[in-house]
Symmetry: C2
Subunit: 404 residues, 2 copies
């Protein structure tokens, strides 16, 4: 008998039919002898709708109240899933983040879990019932409702799986696993049966939409076995586990395109210590999530700095950068939304120095100019024009034989 | 400086504009020097939408899960009202039923308040902030989320006003007060400036839609000063207070029409002790809310029993009545949805025996047949054909000079 934490959200519970299908899946798992703990996030686009409502009502949107608002979505979905389980004769109890024992810090809208005290989850399991936990929420040390942030339900599921010492944590989505690239761009994209935490982390960091990066970090830290799979086909998905050094590693696991970032360049910056620090401290204080940062080699003591930010942050980032540019006497600031970042990820890359060269050659062969480059031990990312994104993805997927 | 509990819900907070208007009203009240505690119920038709979702998902609809689902509506509205207040520079904190200290029994979907421990409400007031309490909800003695039932936010407001020893409890609605009759039926319906608890209770019991009857009972029991008023025009509404025996009482305060009930008649019942008890015990056990019961005088040891139930309960009531009819050897059961109940309410009626006669004469003069009659010390209700409801209401409103 295995203990499995299963997480469902979004389109997986997007309407009444879907909720009943999820309930039926849980019933089948229990019939096979598994113990199931569910973590549920909001239905369909509900979180977006709640955010739109907040925008319509308020300009200040205080964090405490935003969290009270947003967490209502998870509670609704939780209660509905429980009802569907009851209909199938499966006893189930919905639990809010607070009832499930998620104690967090007081950092509203992006709270961190401090401790999980899952008495009521365990009590439900011991009574042969299915605990159905509202995702992405908890109660703060000030006794206020807190939200863990977008994608926080994945983190709820992983952290709970660790605390309960579960055999696996299954994250159900609308795709059937982790692919070698976006199947909408490359028809021959291939589902990976296994992937290492390091690889999946890099992929989620550069635009792979699921699962939420933070949940992968938590799973890696605590060694929680993750299974990314489909809530529509119910087929086996992708298992995420520790990298096994002995196994023959493919060089490249995936090509991950991402068109959700924008680029800012600040030109004519004096190349002396502390200048970059001023800029990126201002951006951090404003909550702008800076991703790639590239500073070109300096000539005559003058350099350019380029960095990428999520498209939604570009206006604020540009405003801040212009202010800083004046203060430090830079010569100009440009903002550019029409970029794409294409990344290659693979643990085998570490011992294969030729990967970067092949990537650059492939892009060059297709007439695609590279504007920024950044690398990690197991990833290479290039920023290119956005209208070249599909061509680049397809070319790289083929160049590295990922369809095989 | 007065302490006022103000309750808003439904259309009053039906969209972003309305929420901002409510916030602005609260700001004005505070600028005048009042301390304000808000009780908020769900936006617009949200509760109906949540119920429809539950119906789409589940047939069993377990009470614990229904309460988790439904209470999400109030939390959303609460958080949004707080945000709008923050925008106007009014510090405010949303509080769930649990956070506001509403301890209830475990009777899901219709929980009763056992105790209110409003530490956080008082702390917010002491800090010069507006506590914004989610209506119609609490936490049970089993630590589960509970819902007080439809209209429960009025009860939350009144009970909180009592506990805080507030100077008044204002129930804001989409009408500007309590009227002598339905203004949609009689154009000369007149708003009452004051009304007694007894009168308002009778009116809400026979179909006056607002406020919720239970809240009037609580207000009466604890002597909470109620003000029923408009969230759209903000004008003075109707004050509800203890009847003052010395004041010159108008005989009739209102004509209250109600077309939401249906009638069942069980015919040919043996007129012996215990027969009615069997029937109404079965109906009560099924949760059918029986209202008027009329048993005709018996001839030859055989009688007919008629009773009214909410239209939504008519199918279940008919089924149960047919089963009982067979058991007790009654000759037939008829169900009739096309009825209306017209009620006259007025504390002065007690000392004016001619009211019933005038009512019956007025109906007769308009060719309206009376099918059932029931009375209380301050109310007379007649069941008539539904298509006569408007005529009867207008005729009675005129006969008793209520437009003056």
């Amino acid at each position: 008998m295995a203990l499995v934490v299963q997480k469902f959200g979004g389109t997986s519970v997007g309407n009444a039919d879907r909720i009943r299908e999820v309930a039926d899946h849980v019933r089948r798992c229990r019939d096979r002898g598994d113990q199931v703990v569910l973590v549920i996030s909001a239905m369909g686009k509900e979180t977006d709708e709640l955010l739109a409502l907040a925008t319509a009502v308020s300009q200040t949107q205080p964090g405490r109240e935003m969290d009270m608002l947003i967490t209502a979505g998870e509670r609704k979905a939780c209660a509905l899933v429980c009802m569907a389980l009851h209909d199938l004769g499966v006893p189930a109890d919905s639990l809010t983040g607070s009832q499930a024992g998620f104690i967090t810090d007081t950092n509203h809208s992006n709270a961190k879990i401090l401790e999980i005290v899952p008495h009521r989850v365990r009590a439900a399991l011991d009574a042969g019932r299915v605990p159905v936990v509202a995702g992405a929420q908890g109660v703060s040390t000030d006794d206020d409702v807190t939200f863990l942030g977008r994608g926080g339900s994945d983190t709820t599921a992983v952290a709970l799986a660790h605390t309960l010492n579960a055999d696996a944590c299954e994250l159900y989505t609308d795709v059937s696993g982790v692919f070698t690239t976006d199947p909408r761009v490359c028809t021959d994209a291939r589902k990976l049966l296994t992937i290492s935490f390091d690889e999946l982390l890099e992929m989620t960091a550069v635009g792979c939409p699921k699962p939420a990066m933070r949940s992968v970090e938590v799973a890696q830290n605590y060694g929680v076995k993750l299974h990314i799979r489909s809530a529509f086909t119910w087929e086996q998905g992708t298992w995420v586990a520790k990298e096994e050094p002995s196994m023959e590693q493919p060089i490249i696991r995936s090509v991950t395109p991402d068109t959700s970032e924008a680029k800012i360049t600040i030109a004519g910056v004096a190349d002396r210590p502390g200048v970059a620090a001023i800029l990126f401290r201002e951006l951090a204080d404003a909550g702008v999530n800076v991703d790639m940062i590239v500073q070109n080699a300096s000539e005559r003591g003058i350099t350019d700095i380029s960095f990428t930010v999520p498209e939604g942050d570009i206006d604020m980032a540009e405003r801040i950068t212009r202010t800083v540019a004046e203060d430090i006497g830079a010569t100009g600031v440009t903002a550019d939304r029409a970029i794409a970042r294409i990344s290659l990820v693979g643990a085998g890359m570490k011992s294969h120095p030729g990967v970067a060269a092949t990537m650059f050659e492939t892009l060059s062969k297709h007439g695609i100019n590279i504007e920024m480059i950044s690398t990690s031990p197991i990833r290479i990312s290039c920023v290119i024009r956005q209208d070249h994104a599909d061509t680049a993805t397809q070319a790289l997927h083929q160049a590295f034989d990922l369809a095989q």
